[in-house]
């Protein structure tokens, strides 16, 4: 197969993006057919490349080790496949959901440009093209959020700045790594994260987990859930950014740096993962809006991936990567079903919804499967990957991380019980008029994703052997038997037992809260919301107290106010009032002397001459 084929996943969507941008808004049919067909071609291409497995394309570019270097290998071909699959589903979904958007031209252009850039980033084997593609995604991210309307602009700026900060950190890390290793080619780098390399590791890690949306770089995601189009949420934070961020994190920990279990770096990563799981899920639990609830889960689940990869234990890493693809599937499905509900009911507020299962059975079914999958219910895919993460965490010996992961599992299930119960089950709400099931382009992607969740759960050996295991090939210590699939379906082991216990606790919590709130499902989380200390923390968090971006903005505004009052205004006063006053005074003084009298002027000349002569003769002698 020709190496030039590697350019196709980048150039094809880019060309389509340009076309979508240029073609007038009215030409709907052509746009929709082309987008679906184009993404299908891309999907086929990804399959073909996945079969090829290894391919390299190197074009000399700027010199100094900066080449346009693309490399296809198992991991990148796997991510390519995932990206193409989600692009297809989103394109299909968008044909209905985005058809009336006034900026639909831009929307399609940004989506396909994102796909081109993401493919480029995944294929890059040189840091410079990688950064180029990576930064390009920043622009499409911004553009896509602004499509949500006027209110979205603020969120877009927020997302841009937070992601920009993370990318900046990554670039710094890359620079450090360059100075350490002297090469920019990814496949040639493998260092131990010690000393300066540790700093580089942390910086690049910030870039990766920031892209994936881990705490504390997540705060724009819940805002975007409200402001931005729901297709964007399913596309970017749920699918693309997870795939890219975790792909890079895995590359960092597996290839670029030799992360070992039970080292400082491993513990740092695991801590970030555990904190993200617990804090984000606690925030998700109390949300009153379906999209916002989902967005906090999109953050929380990143924690599992980071925790899994951070363990440095093969089964944990495999679990983390498996969780990435699983998460992308069910979270995309969840956002799409939220979009489907929004499409018909016109709202995603839990309070106004209820009992929609009868009228929208397919959406409800898809949502239920995805929700159970994310909660880790046997035998769905989320159960498998979470089990692997728990095991990895336990194997490191730091049990606290496993406990945190389990706590996360409890609240995940509790919050999805609440969400599903509020939207699809329970009493039919009176706020929403009678609705129909959404049209098939909305339902089909949801069902495909739900089906995939079941497949990957029941036949978990298939993806684990086909996709995940080869990624780890060569990274496991020699002789270690890489069999992490045996236990997965077995319910009869202590780890799985604890997980199932967590689910039962969650069910209990939900039923308790539901009863307490007078059978109102959307209030089922109130008992936890109102816990003494937690309540205050929740209030602070709702007021964005923990949002580093908002705090940073506040700090900068405060700083600029102080600077303005204490430094700038006085200086301004000095120039505006003191200097002008003095200037005008002096001017009028001099002007009075110029009275137009010739004699006067002649006298000055003579006085000047005398003065000069005087000075000269005094000095000269």
């Amino acid at each position: 197969m020709s190496p030039n084929l590697l350019l196709a996943p980048i150039l094809l969507p880019a060309a389509l993006a340009v076309f979508f941008f240029l073609v007038p808004k009215r030409v709907r049919l052509v746009r929709e057919i082309l987008s679906v067909a184009g993404s299908l071609v891309l999907l086929y291409l990804a399959f073909a490349l996945f079969e090829v497995k290894t391919l390299g394309l190197k074009i000399a570019w700027l010199g100094m080790g900066i080449d346009f270097d693309l490399r296809l290998f198992h991991f990148s071909s796997f991510i390519l496949l995932g990206l193409a699959g989600f692009l297809f589903l989103i394109s299909l979904y968008s044909t209905v959901k985005m058809k009336d958007n006034p900026r639909v031209r831009e929307y399609y252009a940004y989506v396909f440009l994102s796909a081109a850039l993401a493919n480029g980033a995944v294929l890059s084997n040189n840091f410079v093209p990688l950064v180029f593609f990576w930064e390009g995604l920043l622009l499409t991210l911004y553009g896509l959020i602004t499509i949500g309307g006027k209110e979205a602009n603020r969120t877009a700026v927020k997302a841009f700045i937070i992601s920009g900060f993370c990318d900046f950190a990554m670039i710094l890390g890359i620079g450090l790594l360059w100075s350490i290793t002297g090469t920019l080619t990814l496949s040639e780098i493998s260092v131990k994260p010690e000393g300066l390399a540790a700093a580089s590791f942390i910086l690049m890690m910030i870039g990766a987990i920031g892209k994936a949306g881990a705490m504390p770089f997540h705060t724009w995601i819940p805002d975007a859930a409200i402001d931005a189009p729901v297709t964007f949420m399913a596309f970017m934070p749920a699918a693309f950014e997870k795939l890219l961020g975790i792909y890079l994190l895995a590359r960092i920990t597996l290839d670029l740096f030799q992360l070992e279990a039970r080292t400082t770096m491993s513990i740092v990563l695991m801590s970030i993962g555990a904190l993200t799981i617990v804090l984000a899920v606690l925030m998700a639990l109390i949300q009153k809006d379906l999209k916002k609830l989902l967005s906090f889960h999109a953050v929380s689940q990143v924690g599992y991936m980071i925790l899994g990869i951070g363990t440095g234990i093969p089964i944990g890493i495999a679990g983390g990567i498996f969780h990435m693809i699983n998460h992308a599937m069910y979270k995309c499905g969840l956002f799409l079903s939220a979009g489907s509900v929004e499409h018909r009911a016109g709202t995603t507020e839990l309070k106004k919804l209820g009992g929609l299962a009868r009228e929208m059975p397919l959406t409800a079914a898809g949502f239920t499967v995805c929700a159970l999958a994310i909660s880790g219910v046997w035998p769905l895919n989320g159960f498998v990957s979470k089990e692997m993460v728990f095991r990895g965490a336990l194997e490191t010996g730091y049990k606290v991380f496993a406990v945190a992961a389990w706590v996360g599992a409890i609240f995940t299930f509790a919050s999805f019980l609440k969400a599903g119960h509020s939207v699809f089950f329970g009493a039919r709400s009176q706020d929403v008029p009678k609705v129909k099931e959404s049209p098939s382009p909305l339902v089909i992607p949801i069902l495909i994703l739900a089906l995939l969740c079941i497949t990957f759960g029941v036949y978990n050996k298939l993806p684990l052997n086909e996709f995940i295991q080869p990624i780890l090939a060569g990274h496991v210590e020699a002789g270690a038997h890489l069999d992490f699939t045996a236990h997965a379906l077995s319910l009869l082991n202590p780890v799985a037992g604890i997980s199932i216990l967590c689910l039962i606790i969650a069910l209990g919590l939900h039923l308790h809260g539901w009863n307490r709130a007078g059978k109102k499902a959307f209030l089922a989380s109130e008992p936890i919301h109102n816990l003494p200390v937690l309540h205050n923390l929740y209030n602070l968090s709702e007021a964005r107290f923990f949002d580093l971006y908002e705090q940073g903005v506040k700090f900068l505004i405060g700083l600029s106010t102080v600077l303005s009052r204490a430094v700038d205004r006085p200086i301004d006063y000095f120039f505006e009032k003191v200097v002008t006053a003095v200037g005008v005074k002096l001017t009028s003084l001099f002007q009075k002397a110029h009275n137009g009298q010739y004699a006067n002027y002649l006298a000055w000349c003579l006085a000047g001459l005398l003065a000069i002569v005087g000075i000269v003769s005094l000095v000269v002698k």
């Binding site: 001017t587 001099f590 002007q591 110029h594 002649l602 001459l609 000069i612 003769s617």
Partner: protein
């Protein structure tokens, strides 16, 4: 053929009044502007070749007999010739349309050419008497040109100008006489050598003082400046541009520096004296400009202030200071010429020079407003225009020489400069257009063309400042830097 610089304009000036009988407008326009163009092209092309082997002196022959007129061309003189030719060409182009309503164009151009011939001669002069002679040639022509409008104001201003200028000529003539008495010769080099052999300290110092006062009057350094704000605004706009852009510099600064650098030698006493005069002029005149309502008066005061800058740079006497001073002289000639021309356009369109009565003219006169902005910013020293670089060089030279107070004052004065130029721009061109100016029209083609050429030059010199400095200004500065031989006894 160095004497062509003087002879050609003189001959054309002699012929013009006669030709004016044949053709009142077209022929004088074409002939005089061709003359200016010739001077420019000749200076730019032949000038460099003539002095390729070093400074050149040329004896003028009259029917084969040498007469006592010796013209010399060196880097500095060529630089000045270029500046004169450039500005006078633009002023000449501007005059094509502007002088229509004054009448008697042939006479006007004749006077104009005589003034140019005088300035060229002064630049090429090799002895003290020639300096005086050409000074008067240029001055007499300029008296008539200031009075050219023949209104009450013009006549009064010309008279005042004449009287104070005569005082200046008297000072210079006395100085020349004393030096002739002391050394028995008039040539720069001969006088310089003679002074070094004589123990003539105090007398030489007196002459230096007379020259400072005399040429200071011509250059309008404070306190010798009072004639200028009357004379320059009263003249027709192209003549204002010539007077402010060139005449004060040629007959004031150039003559002063030429004599001081090649006859007396710049001692620290003279250096301090010049720098003191320069800095006072720069600041006081800037403040005075600030208080003006009349656009041309404001420009005239600004000329005094900028002359102060130039004298500050040249008076410092270091190679960098001289370079900066000369470069600023060139930039100021371009920019101030431009500004007087645009002010002429405004006056012609609106009939007033009072800034308070204008407003919003940019809408009706976009070219004039734009070129005026370029000139203003260049003089005020805003990058990347020419004036920025020359001021920067002067300030750098001051800092390099350790003259911190002067450097600080120079910076502050340039802030004042920006202040009053923005005042012009805002009051005249920006803002809402006044009802009464609704129907004014942009200046005619040739007037606009002249201002656009100058504006482009301001921008071009700014952008290619390094090339201009290296190929034109540096050779001129080298002449001065080499010629420093001190003759006045040093007393501290």
């Amino acid at each position: 053929m160095v004497f062509l610089f003087v002879a050609v304009p003189l001959v054309v000036a002699g012929v013009l009044p006669l030709l004016g009988k044949l053709s009142k407008r077209v022929l004088p326009d074409i002939l005089s502007n061709l003359t200016f163009l010739f001077l420019l092209v000749y200076a730019a092309t032949a000038g460099r070749q003539i002095i390729a082997g070093g400074p050149v002196s040329q004896q003028i022959l009259w029917f084969g007999e040498p007469v006592q007129i010796l013209l010399g061309l060196d880097g500095l003189a060529l630089f000045m010739l270029m500046a004169i030719a450039l500005v006078s060409l633009c002023a000449g182009i501007f005059s094509i349309d502007y002088m229509e309503h004054y009448g008697a164009k042939a006479n006007y151009y004749a006077l104009f050419l005589i003034m140019v011939a005088g300035m060229n001669g002064l630049v090429l002069a090799k002895d003290l008497f020639q300096v005086y002679l050409f000074l008067e040639v240029a001055a007499v022509a300029s008296y008539a040109l200031v009075a050219y409008g023949l209104g009450y104001e013009e006549l009064e201003a010309a008279f005042k100008y004449l009287l104070l200028s005569v005082v200046a000529s008297a000072f210079v003539l006395i100085g020349v006489t004393v030096l002739f008495g002391l050394t028995g010769s008039l040539g720069f080099e001969a006088v310089g050598r003679g002074l070094q052999e004589l123990p003539a300290g105090p007398m030489a110092a007196l002459c230096a003082a007379l020259f400072v006062a005399g040429f200071g009057l011509k250059a309008a350094l404070i306190p010798f400046h009072a004639w200028l704000p009357d004379a320059h605004p009263s003249a027709p706009a192209p003549i204002s541009a010539m007077l402010s852009g060139l005449l004060i510099k040629v007959s004031g600064i150039y003559a002063l520096t030429r004599i001081f650098f090649s006859v007396f030698g710049l001692t620290s006493l003279l250096s301090n004296l010049l720098m003191g005069l320069g800095v006072i002029s720069a600041v006081v005149a800037a403040l005075l400009a600030l208080g003006q309502k009349d656009i041309k008066r404001m420009l005239a005061y600004s000329s005094i202030s900028q002359v102060g800058y130039i004298v500050l740079g040249i008076g410092l006497g270091t190679p960098l200071g001289i370079l900066g001073g000369l470069f600023h002289l060139f930039n100021h000639a371009l920019a101030k010429g431009l500004l007087f021309l645009t002010s002429g356009s405004v006056q012609m369109a609106t009939g007033t020079r009072n800034l308070d009565e204008m407003g919003g003219l940019a809408k009706r006169m976009p070219w004039t407003a734009a070129t005026n902005l370029v000139g203003s910013l260049s003089i005020a020293g805003v990058p990347p225009l020419g004036g920025f670089w020359s001021k920067l060089v002067i300030i750098m030279a001051l800092v390099q020489a350790g003259r911190w107070p002067y450097a600080v004052i120079a910076v502050l004065a340039s802030v004042l400069t920006l202040w009053y130029y923005l005042l012009i721009q805002r009051k005249a061109f920006f803002g809402k257009i006044e009802e009464r100016w609704k129907d004014i029209r942009e200046a005619p083609f040739w007037m606009t063309a002249a201002t656009v050429i100058l504006a482009l030059l301001c921008i071009g010199v700014g952008i290619f400042f390094a090339a201009v400095l290296k190929s034109w200004v540096q050779p001129a500065a080298d002449v001065l830097a080499q010629g420093v031989t001190a003759v006045i006894p040093r007393g501290r």
